[in-house]
């Protein structure tokens, strides 16, 4: 059954940012939101994906030759 496990394989971007191993967001069928059972993160699916991808970017940050002079 869908409710016996996280409904959608979305990783919590807030826990990910704290380098806590994948915490999958749970789906609330009442309002369609995705929420984390560890921290207080809650979002729509689109926002959760965007936040996760934004956080992935931090691995790429650093001094680069493309920085504005």
């Amino acid at each position: 059954m869908a409710e016996t496990r996280p409904a959608h394989p979305l990783i919590c971007p807030s826990c990910f940012a704290r380098e806590i191993d994948p915490i999958f967001l749970h789906h609330d069928p009442d309002d369609g939101h995705y929420y984390c059972t560890k921290c207080t993160y809650v979002a729509t699916e689109r926002a959760a994906v965007k936040a996760f991808l934004d956080d992935l970017m931090r691995h790429k940050h650093g001094i680069t030759r493309d920085e504005p002079k």
Partner: protein, 593 residues
């Protein structure tokens, strides 16, 4: 009538650069007609000129002066008392006593009377009992920082050795045995009203660092949840503390900002003009609410006297907290009495995710003479945040139909709390927590399950779950109440050897017993009416007990922890009949030899 109380507390430090800031704080409160309490530190007491200016401002006012046991540093300590231990509660006892005697003596010389109010970040039972015995003028003290412990230690880059996890969040009567435990009766209580250092966000106290989310407007800059000189979160936060008075008959707020936090250049506040403006807005909020009769701003001693008149040792307190940071659905309900402190997290279906069992009266004294040294955390039986999440630590339940099974952790819910014994009728406090109707799909069926908890001043939590009458009665519905536990004060596992799991039938006959030895032992027994765990290191037993008036459960299950999964597990499985409630008691008691 429910009353919301507030203290405005300042700290008088000796550093020259913060003295004008302290003036600013005092003036800001007084110009608004707000009474305040100023706690004077040891270095400040040694500064004659500073004390003269404090005395000049204090005389003839309604404000209060007291002592603060922080800023213990410099010659005041090293030369006068021969220690570099800056935390009073961690000093050797002879030094601690000498410092307190010195401070009281200086206070009397400076201000002409002994102090009634004392502040610290943490005070153990030994220190409080010393103050009670040696300095009986002290009637109220700031004794603990709610849930400042493991998570805050990690967040502070392992650099702030203050450990006070596991105590009450609000004012309480401290136990003579261990100061983070509320006393059960007058004989057990130290005759000093214990206050929290700050009010905390009661969800982020579990999910995050609660020093960043507290009744301390400047810490909101540290958390970056200000919007310039404003923080909508703060107004919602304050409102929730006012709301708690409805459930308890009273509520308390501590606004305590020490002067360094309002001094330009503080590392956490990029623009101090914004910082001071938010501080002043908080005072304005109190003025507005006081004018409307919604809050009573008092001195520490004034509130302490009110607390003495209204709350007796042994009373319970409850707190229902919404997620005000994200303004989302998450809710946590906290209950504390002299037997336990529990957090019910409705983000995971009302599971008890943090449980401190106080009946073992674990010695919480600190200092070099004590085995605990600096660790003042009261041990947990379950702490999901520290030990693997709600599936791995805490109380929850599973619903099954045939081969299909679902954990009630997998749906967030909403709770309604009802006071079932108004404080004028039964002062100890009793509440029903209704988790409402939650719809589940399993075994091809769509059914509604409702859970109600009842909590009061006893060590028993009543859990009632009812499958709605519309469910198909011909199916094999089962409910399993589960407790997954451990013990400890940190996020690392402690030794589980010697922890004993047992199962008994309704007549009290023993059905199974497991003494933990990391041997992968488990047992499933039919007809168990009670399953228990005895945890000698913290001196308590926890039992899941089927209600004697109900049917006997179909099975009890026990499993010891392993080294790689160091949690024990006990459960009771009931057969569910639609429309008929199943009642289980979660009982905490002292471990008797």
């Amino acid at each position: 009538m429910a009353q919301f109380h507030a203290n405005i507390i300042h700290r008088a430090d000796s550093a020259a650069r913060v003295q004008p800031v302290f003036d600013y704080q005092w003036r800001a409160a007084r110009e608004r007609g707000l009474v305040s309490t100023t706690l004077v530190t040891l270095p400040a007491l040694l500064d004659e000129r500073l004390c003269e200016s404090i005395r000049a401002r204090w005389e003839g006012s309604r404000d209060e002066l007291g002592l603060h046991c922080h800023e213990m540093k410099g010659p005041a300590l090293t030369e006068r008392h021969g220690t570099r231990e800056t935390a009073l509660w961690l000093m050797p006892r002879t030094t601690r006593a000498a410092v307190l005697d010195d401070m009281v003596d200086l206070f009397v010389r400076r201000f002409g009377r002994p102090p009634a109010a004392v502040g610290s970040y943490l005070l153990d039972a030994w220190t409080l009992a010393y103050l009670e015995r040696r300095h009986p003028s002290v009637r109220v003290a700031i004794t603990n920082c709610f849930e400042e412990g493991v998570k805050m230690f990690r967040g502070n880059n392992q650099n702030w050795h203050l450990f006070s996890d596991g105590g009450p969040w609000g004012p309480f009567w401290p136990s003579r045995d261990t100061a983070l435990k509320p006393a059960g009766d007058v004989a057990e209580a130290i005759d000093i009203v214990a206050l929290p250092h700050l009010n905390r966000d009661m969800i982020l106290a579990l999910a995050s660092r609660d020093d960043l989310f507290a009744s301390h407007p400047l810490n909101l800059f540290r958390a970056k949840i200000n919007e310039g000189a404003d923080s909508p979160y703060l107004w919602r936060f304050l409102q929730q503390w006012e709301d708690q008075a409805v459930l308890n008959g009273w509520s308390y707020l501590s606004l305590f900002v020490s002067s360094p936090w309002l001094t330009p250049g503080h590392w956490a506040v990029p623009d101090m003009a914004h910082g001071r403006r938010l501080y002043e807005k908080t005072l304005d909020w109190l003025v507005e609410h006081q004018t409307a009769g919604r809050v009573r701003v008092d001195t520490m001693s004034g509130f302490g006297a009110t607390f003495r008149a209204q709350v007796a040792p042994g009373d319970a307190q409850i707190c229902q907290w919404r997620d005000e940071l994200r303004q989302a659905k998450r809710e946590t309900i906290w209950v504390v009495n002299s037997h336990y402190r529990a957090a019910l997290d409705f983000n995971v279906g009302g599971a008890i995710t943090d449980l401190r069992a106080y009946d073992g009266r674990v010695d919480g004294n600190m200092g070099p003479e004590c085995p605990r040294l600096a660790n003042g955390n009261y041990p947990y039986l379950a702490a999901a945040e520290l030990r693997g999440g709600a599936y791995q630590n805490g109380h929850h339940a599973e619903l099954a139909c045939g081969d299909a099974r679902v954990s009630l952790l997998n749906r967030r819910g909403h709770a309604t709390v009802r006071n079932v014994a108004p404080r004028d009728a039964a002062a100890a406090g009793a509440w029903e927590i209704d988790g409402g109707e939650v719809t589940w799909e399993l075994g091809g069926q769509r059914v509604v399950l409702r859970t109600r908890w009842r909590v009061d001043a006893s060590g028993d939590i009543r859990v009632e779950r009812t499958l709605e009458p519309a469910a198909d009665p011909s199916l094999d519905w089962r409910l399993t109440e589960v407790f997954v536990g451990s013990w400890g004060t940190w996020d690392l596992p402690e030794d589980l050897r010697g922890i004993t799991l047992g199962a008994w039938d309704a007549a009290g006959g023993e059905l199974a017993r497991i003494v933990s030895a990391y041997a992968s032992q488990s047992a499933t027994v039919a007809g168990a009416a009670r399953v228990s765990v005895a945890v000698p290191p913290i001196g308590v037993t926890l039992s899941l007990v089927a209600d004697p008036a109900g049917p006997v459960p179909t099975a009890g299950h026990l499993a010891e922890g392993t080294l790689f999964a160091p949690v024990y597990r006990l459960s009771l499985t009931h057969r569910l009949t639609p429309g008929i409630p199943v009642i289980t008691w979660l009982k905490l008691a002292p471990l008797t030899p």
